[in-house]
Symmetry: C2
Subunit: 311 residues, 2 copies
């Protein structure tokens, strides 16, 4: 058993275009860090949270990282004391999987501290318990999956927690732009239709099949043609000022496709090559700027590592 470990867990993009609730990928940064150490005080203590502007609770039972860690500690029958320090690198409510990231970091950090009794994939249900706290009980693994496992991850079934790694071409880059806007996940959920026309559903799953095949064949044109969301984007676009101008700017700068990351307000664009991704990211920021909205930009490959111990 180690005396302390330091873990990094990456941000992730979920709802990848046609992959609503089913397709997500991890990026290189931003991400959350977590330090856990053995403590003489029994049970789990969250000692400090940095970078959350005081928004997150210190009580482990109310904190996504705490819930994930507690579930794992209980499963492992650990009787000692653990102290946790959280460094939030992902803004809360950004659409970049902030709560999933904390939950993953909590589970991974405890697992590393206890000398890896479980594999990464076995940690999934514990991290999902943490994430469920943030999403009101619903289980969606499209942020937790990629954040934990890395890479492009298809959630074949949220009920079965069945995750499938989808190989992607090496030269696939993403430009993520996070505008200074706030969208509540509950609003982003409520704006969606509960019933959809069968024809829309067929369009969506045809595209998802095309997207998966495009990734696995390294067929950038197919990825681009499949990059269409008729379920969430047409509704959630209204929550982001000048969404279509930002999207058009990305496409004109050479993106394969551009859509909303998770529940937003972050937007992402997949690109062939880093140079295109840089150009696309800047074009998206400029479009937001013209709408009077400041933003952060992250350029990244698909992060194939996922959460990992860094010290």
């Amino acid at each position: 058993m180690k005396s302390d470990v330091h873990v990094f867990a990456p941000a992730s993009v979920a709802n990848v275009a046609c992959g609503f609730d089913t397709l997500g990928f991890a990026i290189l940064r931003p991400g959350d860090e977590m330090i856990v150490r053995l403590s003489k005080k029994p049970g789990l203590t969250i000692k400090k949270i940095h970078g959350d502007q005081g928004k997150l609770p210190l009580e482990p039972e109310k904190n996504t990282a705490g819930v994930a860690a507690l579930a794992l500690l209980e499963h492992l029958g650990f009787q000692g004391g653990i102290e946790m320090e959280i460094i939030k690198g992902i803004p809360i409510g950004s659409g970049l999987g902030s709560s999933a990231c904390s939950a993953v970091a909590g589970a991974v950090a405890v697992n590393e501290l206890l000398d890896r009794p479980l594999t990464k994939k076995e940690l999934l249900p514990f991290a999902l318990k943490g994430e469920a706290l943030a999403s009101g009980g619903a289980i969606h693994a499209d942020n937790v999956g990629p954040c934990l496992l890395g890479g492009m991850v298809l959630i074949r079934s949220n009920q079965d927690m069945d995750t499938v790694k989808i190989p992607v071409p090496e030269d696939l880059y993403v430009a993520v732009v996070l505008p200074e806007l706030e969208i509540l996940t509950v609003d982003a959920r409520n704006i969606l239709r509960k019933e959809i026309p069968l024809t829309d559903a067929i369009t969506q799953w045809g595209n998802l099949g095309g997207m998966v095949a495009g990734f696995m064949k390294s067929d950038y044109e197919l990825i681009g043609r499949s990059f269409e969301d008729v379920i969430a984007e047409p509704y959630r676009a209204s929550l982001i000022p000048d969404f279509y101008k930002v999207k058009t700017a990305a496409m004109e700068a050479g993106a394969l496709g551009c859509s909303i990351s998770g529940a937003g307000p972050a937007m992402f664009a997949l690109c062939k090559g880093d140079e295109v991704a840089f150009k696309v990211g800047i074009a998206m920021q400029q479009a937001f700027f013209r709408a009077g909205v400041g933003s952060e930009r992250y350029i990244s490959t698909i992060n194939t590592l996922g959460a990992e111990r860094i010290r």
Copy 2:
């Protein structure tokens, strides 16, 4: 220009489990044959149709093969005369893509007779015109695509006629069982919901993504886990007596999954290896027999050739 050609076009399985309207594959047999030859009589003449019990019209404008051939001849600006003979090998209304097959055979035969002015993929819109006649104007390429091109074909978009070949594992076999029942395609369509819950749609596209990934990774377990249809099968099952007994028989005999082929009444089961496929096919026939229904059985690999000239 040849004086005559003889073409074979294979039956196909559409609506592959979770791939409603988007995923289909060709099988080795049954299939339609078509003989076309130059004729002194101008225009297109359908001289004879064998094996249709007099059900299909001889007027080219009312015949799927005729419509496909006419559309192609017009596109090519052909002024001469052509005579067509059709040998129906696929029972009409079987769920094995009978009309699509005739349409494909018509387009391919004319193209071969005129020394292949178009590639196979370029023939797709002409074959679809023929198929549209049979389906009341709606365009669904999930039979025409695989029948023409061979293999497992994803129709990314029926509107864009965008077809994607999905590689499948070499040892993938199919057992197709065609019961002596009649289902009208229009009834099979009308029994479906026009609006579906978003949650059902997510289940379906998660499975479709898993199915495509399973084929491309040669991951039989993933293919099996993804083999679930929550859109068509639960409704269309009622049109086939003892559907669930037949399905259970297939699964108990070792199938990866079993569902309805196209609009039915044919049923199909994907299997790993030919021995399993033979056992599964017999088990399905026995289950139909116990329900008092006779059937035909076809065991096949995925037919990667599609329609081809045989003489």
